[in-house]
Symmetry: C2
Subunit: 176 residues, 2 copies
DNA sequence: GACTCAAAGTTGACGTGACAACTCTAGGAT
DNA sequence: ATCCTAGAGTTGTCACGTCAACTTTGAGTC
């Protein structure tokens, strides 16, 4: 906390370009999701997580862990989504707690459609313009950041499939 | 809007890793700024922009443009920062409008200290672990995203200097 | 059985961000 | 001079996210 060397123009340029790109990409993805399916990215994330755990018994803490969110954030989000009719909290434990989370029919409908649309958006905006080399470099760096900033957590959570093969964009990559 | 091919595990893996890394890095940068200097990233951005335009006559629209924010977001932010004593809105036009923005002494103090600390944080967390290849990949991708998503705007806004040289990530790091 | 305690979940307060509606002013056009 | 329109700035409303305080439940422990 005492080095105090301001960023060089090249460094600043890099940081600013990257942050701007992030902001634009994230905003565009959000806007597309909202326009096409009427849901926010946060709502989409919750819907997908609950949709995957299809035994209708997802607990708040599990949801929070899988999303990397805090409990309270999940609780607030669930309250809003319950009011919007996308999901319901179902009592399941003996005496009342341990509230399970279930999608309503509306929630199921929208998540089904949104998964495909969102995939297209991600590919179109984020993935298509990448060369394999660029993808490999970015993936390596991302993994480094995750390892450094969040060592306890999972390194690479499988999406939906049982992880049939290691991703293979360019050359062998080290396992976790 | 009708291709509907869900992301392959490899694609999803890439996207999720990238987004998680972004989230963790952004959160860590925010937290450091808050802990060390008591300001949010949004407040820091505003302070830096006003600090740079040191002729004390920055207008809201100029600020919004340079930050890539909406007018209303700037207005809300200025209101909060004014209440916190970081800056003041000074009437400058003839009849009352055209409110200029000036840093208070407190604002000047904090931004001076925060710029150095924030630079160190960015370098430590984001820049240091980058290899030249990774930096090149990210820069290229970011630039492509900006060109695609926001063609009208500036491609590479100069930070403060009159752009002494083109940035040069691989090889010797230029500049002072 | 009564006490204690930690985990699960909720709630409230507050800062943040997006969007739309509003006011005020300046500059024309007639 | 009057209208009218575009731009600047503000405000309200709502969704989002964090922090801290709170309640309830399920186990231990004596």
């Amino acid at each position: 906390m005492a080095r105090s060397t301001p960023l060089s123009p090249a460094e600043w340029q890099f940081w600013d370009t990257w942050m701007t790109a992030q902001r634009l990409l994230s905003g565009e993805v959000d806007r597309t999701l909202q326009r096409d399916f009427g849901i926010s990215k946060a709502e989409f994330s919750v819907l997908v997580s609950v949709h995957r755990a299809s035994d209708d018994q997802l607990r708040v803490t599990e949801l929070a862990d899988s999303l990397g969110w805090e409990k309270s954030r999940v609780a607030h989000q669930l309250t809003r989504m319950e009011q919007r009719g996308l999901l319901a909290r179902t009592e399941s434990g003996a005496a009342g707690r341990r509230t399970g989370i279930t999608l309503t029919q509306a929630g199921r409908d929208v998540v089904q459609r949104a998964i495909d649309g969102h995939s297209d958006t991600i590919r179109r905006l984020g993935l298509d313009p990448l060369t394999p080399d660029q993808a490999a470099a970015i993936r390596a760096w991302s993994q480094q950041l995750i390892d450094r900033l969040d060592p306890p957590r999972r390194s690479t959570p499988p999406p939906a499939e049982p992880e049939p093969d290691r991703f293979r964009p360019a050359g062998p990559t080290g396992a976790r």
